[in-house]
Symmetry: C2
DNA sequence: GTCTATATGACGATAGAC
DNA sequence: GTCTATCGTCATATAGAC
């Protein structure tokens, strides 16, 4: 008798589809106009609807940014989970594991510059992601930290440095490559990127510095800071 | 007899002072509202004048950004020239020289986040610095390259890698520290910055990798890229 | 050089009819 | 859920009097 057994779900699904479309178009606009150049009116225009209609799905522009932030982080997490090779099973070197992970990560950021700017820079004055939107971004750090913990368990990592420090320095390295590429040569793709090309060397110096074993760390010298008069 | 021997210069000087004030206030606004949040009206408001008056000094908002870009680069160049210790005279190590230079550079960026975002990121959709505004920024690269060239001459640098590559990787490293600090912990100053604290280690791994001598590069292994199925 | 006045338009967001 | 209409605000930029 009921021709539509779940009419509510149908409507909800339609709603979700529209939301996805809004996000797709928003990313498109951001890629062209810059992250801060996103405008509700422009999104509506491209979707063929009027600006007020968007407010049915997003109560404010900030909410739109928030959803974009969360979706970006989710997409990147998925990419890292999916595309990173499971090198733990084989006896891969630290350098192999890290270069693989770095390539997957950096590739995504270069192919999704709009998301990356939103995720890794601070281009929107008033905007800070909500805790729920930030959650998947935290997962990225967790993933990376677990990888380092696993490497330490396998004896690939120096044991005289905390995992937090290793993790921090690793993010600095990756952020440097991404930042330089997106800021100075945003039109180059992953294969041609001049700063992406620095990845192997960066990973090599990192692995040589933080890797365990006598060959990788020949002379363990303290790297504490010195006070120097010249630096103000 | 002539009480004002150079009245034209006086007027010109007054004009230059006003321009300087505009730039000061503009930086102030950018620091609070974000680089993209700069508005001509807000600058005028804080100066106690009307927006049209600003157009006497800057024909457009882009021209204002351009002047800010140039001034930022000039300030940074001056800082690097002035504050960097002349370690070439003494027989300083590569690590000492680089850590000193890095600290001077990074300190300035942390203490001038608005300039830094304008200089090193791309926060303003339509804006690209004019060639003349870009000139002092180029000088920064030249300065750094000359430093590496000097180190090579003194036998501190590996000779099997081009200076361009060394220079590129160095910028990646510094950009990583600055980018992470400004994006993730913009409220921390230079001394307390958690990513600034990564500098000694980053410099150490760089020096160990690119420094000359048998102790710094124990096992010269090729770091060519491998094609791997997992990376898309 | 500074002002008033204004052109011109975009923006985010809301009210209320359908 | 979508629309028209509109509010209120802000923006960049220009014209022309003083």
């Amino acid at each position: 008798m009921a021709t539509e057994p779940v009419p509510l779900d149908r409507r909800q699904r339609r709603r979700l589809e529209t939301i996805e479309e809004v996000l797709d178009v928003a990313i498109e606009v951001m890629a062209e106009q810059g992250v801060a150049g996103l405008s509700v009116g422009e999104v509506a225009r491209r979707m063929g609807i009027r600006p007020p209609s968007l407010y049915v799905y997003f109560p404010s522009k900030h909410a739109l940014y928030d959803a974009l932030f969360e979706r970006g982080a989710r997409l990147l997490v998925t990419q890292v989970r999916t595309k990173t090779a499971d090198l733990a099973s084989r006896d891969a070197s630290m350098e192999e594991i890290l270069l693989d992970a770095a390539r997957v990560f950096v590739r995504w950021t270069i192919e999704h510059p709009a998301y990356s700017q939103l995720l890794f820079w601070r281009p929107v004055p008033g905007f800070e992601p909500s805790p729920s939107a930030y959650a998947p971004a935290t997962e990225l750090v967790t993933l990376s930290s677990e990888r380092f913990a696993a490497m330490r368990d396998r004896g690939l990592l120096r044991t005289d440095v905390s995992l937090d420090v290793v993790q921090r320095d690793w993010t600095v390295l990756i952020a440097g490559v991404v930042s330089q590429q997106l800021a100075n040569a945003p039109d180059e793709d992953f294969e041609r990127g001049r700063f992406v090309a620095a990845l192997p060397a960066m990973v090599a110096m990192f692995a040589r510095y933080y890797g365990a074993g006598p060959t990788s760390v020949p002379r363990r010298r303290a790297t504490r800071e010195r006070s120097r008069r010249s630096d103000r």
